[in-house]
Symmetry: D2
Subunit: 111 residues, 4 copies
Amino acid sequence: MNTLADLKNALRAFAAARDWDRYHTPKNLVMALSGEVGELADLFQWLTPEQAANAMADPELAWNVRDELADVFHYLVRLADKLDVDLVEAAFAKIERNETRFPADSPKPLA
Amino acid sequence: MNTLADLKNALRAFAAARDWDRYHTPKNLVMALSGEVGELADLFQWLTPEQAANAMADPELAWNVRDELADVFHYLVRLADKLDVDLVEAAFAKIERNETRFPADSPKPLA
Amino acid sequence: MNTLADLKNALRAFAAARDWDRYHTPKNLVMALSGEVGELADLFQWLTPEQAANAMADPELAWNVRDELADVFHYLVRLADKLDVDLVEAAFAKIERNETRFPADSPKPLA
Amino acid sequence: MNTLADLKNALRAFAAARDWDRYHTPKNLVMALSGEVGELADLFQWLTPEQAANAMADPELAWNVRDELADVFHYLVRLADKLDVDLVEAAFAKIERNETRFPADSPKPLA
């Protein structure tokens, strides 16, 4: 089974084979991430909450959602790699901070 | 060592303990993802390419970058979980499609 | 009454007085625009459609919405100024193209 | 000469003719704005600062930049209209607040 580490390495190899590391600077990758999140927003923007919740029941929409989630993830993993950040470790460290910021009886979600 | 599956489960437990699943609809999570990517853009927007490339050498900026990458990752993992998408699998499937779209001698990066 | 041209000039003067033109490059301004749209998303992300439709009835939220709309507009006007684009003219030209793309009996909104 | 008020009215008429007001809720319009800003980021993401500064010298890129700026402006004007916010007035009020937050000898731009 593929892991996040495998994905990081596969994306490195993909970029190296195309000489794209010169484009994949942190600043450019943040912009690319904005672009892909924008495409994800595009898929959901006119849906009602109910339609959005059932998005994966529509095969064409489901395919597009998977495709855009993959693009977002690609750039997030590339960006973290370039910045030498371990995403899973950073995410667990943030959960710990959020446990303090938002105690378990916290009425509103984090902004 | 923590895995992406561990993170998905930890985020599920965090939301469940706060009764936040009612907020974590696909549409809302896409907006939350946009918000967090916007905060990441905030950190890099006024940096020169050189400053951005050295972002992690500044301890305060490095801390903030890790913090924002964690927030982006949280919402991406939550969204994929709610949509029942395996992020790593979707990302590898997209690499395969990109191999076709951008042969190894492709001069320009994917838009 | 202030016009869009007045606003463009006021923002020019504001940046000039702080020597901020060196930061206000097109690429940086696009990132700043992403950041501010992210803050706008933040305000609406957990609201139900009904709460969002009544956002301006809550004085604190209304203040924040005006504040964030202003920030988005600032960067959009600055960016268009730096690129020498007349926003109103470009917007009317696009309406004309959309009249063709989406005839008046068009069932779905533009993506 | 067309004004911002003319544009607001033209966009209202465009939506009304297509019965699109049911889609143009504040929450949906914020998402649409994110989507269009993402497309703008797309145009600039791989450009060097120098290439970005000269974007309008390339006729095809210039056309696309105008097109995307128009889309961003459309949704911003629609959103402000739906929320009953006067964009120019809100933008001038924010300049006043920024005058206080960032005195004229302020060394760094607003985040």
